[in-house]
Point group: C2
Chain length 414, copies 2
Amino acid sequence: MPAKAILISIGDEILYGQTLDTNSHWISGELDSLGIRVMKKVTIGDTKEEILSCLAESEKLAEMVLITGGLGPTNDDLTKPCLVEYFDTHLVQNKSMLENIQKLFEKAGREMSELNEKQADMPANCTPIANVIGTAPGMWFERNGKVIVSMPGVPYEMKRMMKDTILPKLKEMFIEDGIYHRMIRTIGIPESVLAQKIKDWEDSLPKHIKLAYLPTMGSVKLRLTTSEETKAIKQEVQDQIDKVLPTIEKYVYGFDDDEIEEVIGRALKNSGLTLAVAESCTGGYLSHKITSIPGSSGWFNGAFVPYSNKLKNQQLKVDEKIILEHGAVSEPVVLALAKNVREEFMSDVGVSISGVAGPGGGTKEKPVGTVWIGYSDKKKTVAKKFQFTKDRGINIQYSALAALNMIRINLDKD
Amino acid sequence: MPAKAILISIGDEILYGQTLDTNSHWISGELDSLGIRVMKKVTIGDTKEEILSCLAESEKLAEMVLITGGLGPTNDDLTKPCLVEYFDTHLVQNKSMLENIQKLFEKAGREMSELNEKQADMPANCTPIANVIGTAPGMWFERNGKVIVSMPGVPYEMKRMMKDTILPKLKEMFIEDGIYHRMIRTIGIPESVLAQKIKDWEDSLPKHIKLAYLPTMGSVKLRLTTSEETKAIKQEVQDQIDKVLPTIEKYVYGFDDDEIEEVIGRALKNSGLTLAVAESCTGGYLSHKITSIPGSSGWFNGAFVPYSNKLKNQQLKVDEKIILEHGAVSEPVVLALAKNVREEFMSDVGVSISGVAGPGGGTKEKPVGTVWIGYSDKKKTVAKKFQFTKDRGINIQYSALAALNMIRINLDKD
C-alpha cells in the first residue's frame, strides 16, 4: 500500500474564485512520481475552526498532510496561529530564519518591517524550513510517525521548499515500493470513439494493469497503472502498449510526459529544420506555447501576429485583393500566410492561423469558431478548415493545438 | 448568513496531478458573485467509498453540493453509479437526453456508440440537466431543502450547464441578501510594504468591513468585504476606498474586476491610439494576454516575435552592429525595437521586450532573469531594466506584466 497524503490549501481568495490554486496540482504530480498516493485535496478559508477541524480529520486519514497558504505577514493569515493551537505549543523567534529574512531585505535594498520580523517566530515543536526566496519560512511537524508540513502559498517559494527539503525528507520516510504509470497520448479522436476502437484490448488487460481515460482540451491520454514497479511489470506494460499501438497509431503523438510542442520540437531539431508562425486569431498563443519549451530558440525562428488586415498584406505580402475577395479567414489567405512567413522569416516550415475566435465577428458563412490553418514546407503548402466552439478562450486553445497537430502530421509524411 | 456550498471534484487524474482543476475555480467565482459562500472544496478520486462518504459529509454541512467529473462514458467513471447508490434509486433511460445525444452525433456526422447511449440513463429521482454541447447530461437532486448537482468535468460543458440552468435555479432557491466585495488592484509594490503604507487606514476600518490582501504574480489586490449590500454600506465602502487612495495612487491600476490589459485597452481606445508589440523572450505571451480580451482588435495592431537575432535586424531593421556590440538583451536594442515596431506596424505606441528567460543563456553580466523593456510613442522612447527570477515561466509572466505596467505609466504621463 502506498503512503497516503492529504493536501490542504488555505485561503478565502481560492474559495471566492479569485485565485486559481495551481499549488495542489503541482504537489500532486510530484508526490505521484514518488509513489505517494494523494487521496484527497481540500481547500478551506481563512477561518480558525475550519483549519483546526480539517487538520484533525486529515491527520487521522493520511500519513502526511501538506498545507499551503495563510503564512503571509498580514492579519488575515491564520495558518501559523492555528498550528500553534493545534499542537498546543508556543512561538519562539528563530535566529536563522530571522537572518534569512534580513538578508532578503538587504539584497533588495529595502527596509524590513515589524510584520516581516514576526515571520521568524516559529512554533516551538516544529523544524523550521528555510525559505531562500521569500519571507515566510515553512514548518515541519512530526508526531506518531505522521508528518504535517506548512508551506507558503506563493507558488515558486513553495516549489523551491518542496524540491530542496520536503520531497527528499518524505521520500526517506515513506517510500518502499511505488506506483507505476505509463501514458499513451492521443490527439484528434474523441474519448468514446477511442474507447470503442480499443475495447477488445481493454477487456483483455490483466487485472493488475488499470486503464484510465484522461480527456483534456482536444486530446485524450490513456494511462496504464500498476502498483508495482518491477522490471517484469514494466516489460508487461510495454508489451501491452505495443499491442494496442497499431490500432490507434495515427492519433498517437507521444508517450508519458511528452507534450505535442516538445514532440514537434524534437522532430524539427532532429531534421535540422526551423519553424515560423503567422497567427491571427490565436494572437500569440501558439508562439507562447512553443516558446514555453526551454531550448525552443534552437528551431523556432519567430512569429508574426497580424491582428489588423493591413498588417497581413503589408508585412507578409498577402495580396490585398485576396483578402477583399475571400476575407481574412479563408483558405487562400492562410496558404499565402504560411508560405510567406516561411520565406520572410527564413524558415523551413511555416504555419498560419486565421479564424473567428469570437465572441464578435461571426457571420452566417463564417460563424464564430471557424478557423483556417495553413502549413507550408519546401515541398508543399496545404490548408485545412476547422469548426470549433462558441467560446473565445477555447477556440484559441483548440486552434493552437490543431496547428501543432498539423505540423506533426505533415512532418511525419515527409 | 449566506447559503453555503461545497464543491466536489472527482477524478484520479486531478489527484495524480495530471489535470489542473479549473472547474472549481470558475464555479467559486460564479457562486461568490451570487452571494453564496463556498465553504470548502474537495477533490477525491474515482473510488466508490470516497465518493459516497464525501457526499454524506457534504450534504450535512452545506445547503448545496456541486459535483464535477466522473460522468464520461467509460468504466472508470463512477459518479453516476455512486449517486444511484447514495440516493438508493435506479437508472431509467431518459428520452429527451437520448435525443439530445443522438442529435450531437448526427450533427458531427459520427455514429453513436452503445457507451454513449447509456449516458442517457438517469437516476429515477433526479431532474436531468440537458448538455447541449456534450454527451453527459447533468443531474439535479433535491431533498430536505438541500441540493446536490452533478455535472460533467469538461469545462465548457459544465460552464454552459451552470449558466443556462444551475445558477438561475440556485439563485431562486437560496438568495436573500448577499456578500459585497470591492477590490483595489495594485502593481509594483510588495504586500508587506503596502501593508505598512496603509496600516493606519487599516486599523481605522470599521469592524463590519473586512480587509484582505490577495497577492498574485507581481500584483497585490486589496479586498474589502461586507456581508450586507445596502446602498449605505456600498457608499461607506466607497468612502473608505477614497480615503486610502491618495496614499497608494501610483500603484493602483484598477478596481474590482479590472485586469491591467483591459485598463490599458480602455485607455488606448479612449485616446484613439493603437499598440504594437515586439517581444522576444516572452515569445508571444504579452500578445496572447492582450488578445485574450474580446475587442482588442480595435486598438491592437499586432505583434512581432523575433526569436532569432537575424529576424530582429532583418524584419525590424535593428542595426546588426548594435546587436553585436551590446547584445540582444540591451537598452539600445529594446529602444530600437519599440520605435521600429511602432513605425513598421503603423501604430501610435510600441512596446518591446528582450531578456534572458532561462534556464539557459545567462551570463555574469546578464544572468537569467535580466529583462529590458522598451516603450515608444510619438513624444518619447524610453527603456527600463528589470531583474526577475531564475524560473523561465515566472520570468515570462513577470516580463509581460511589467511591459503592461510600463504602458500604463507612460500613457498616464502623456
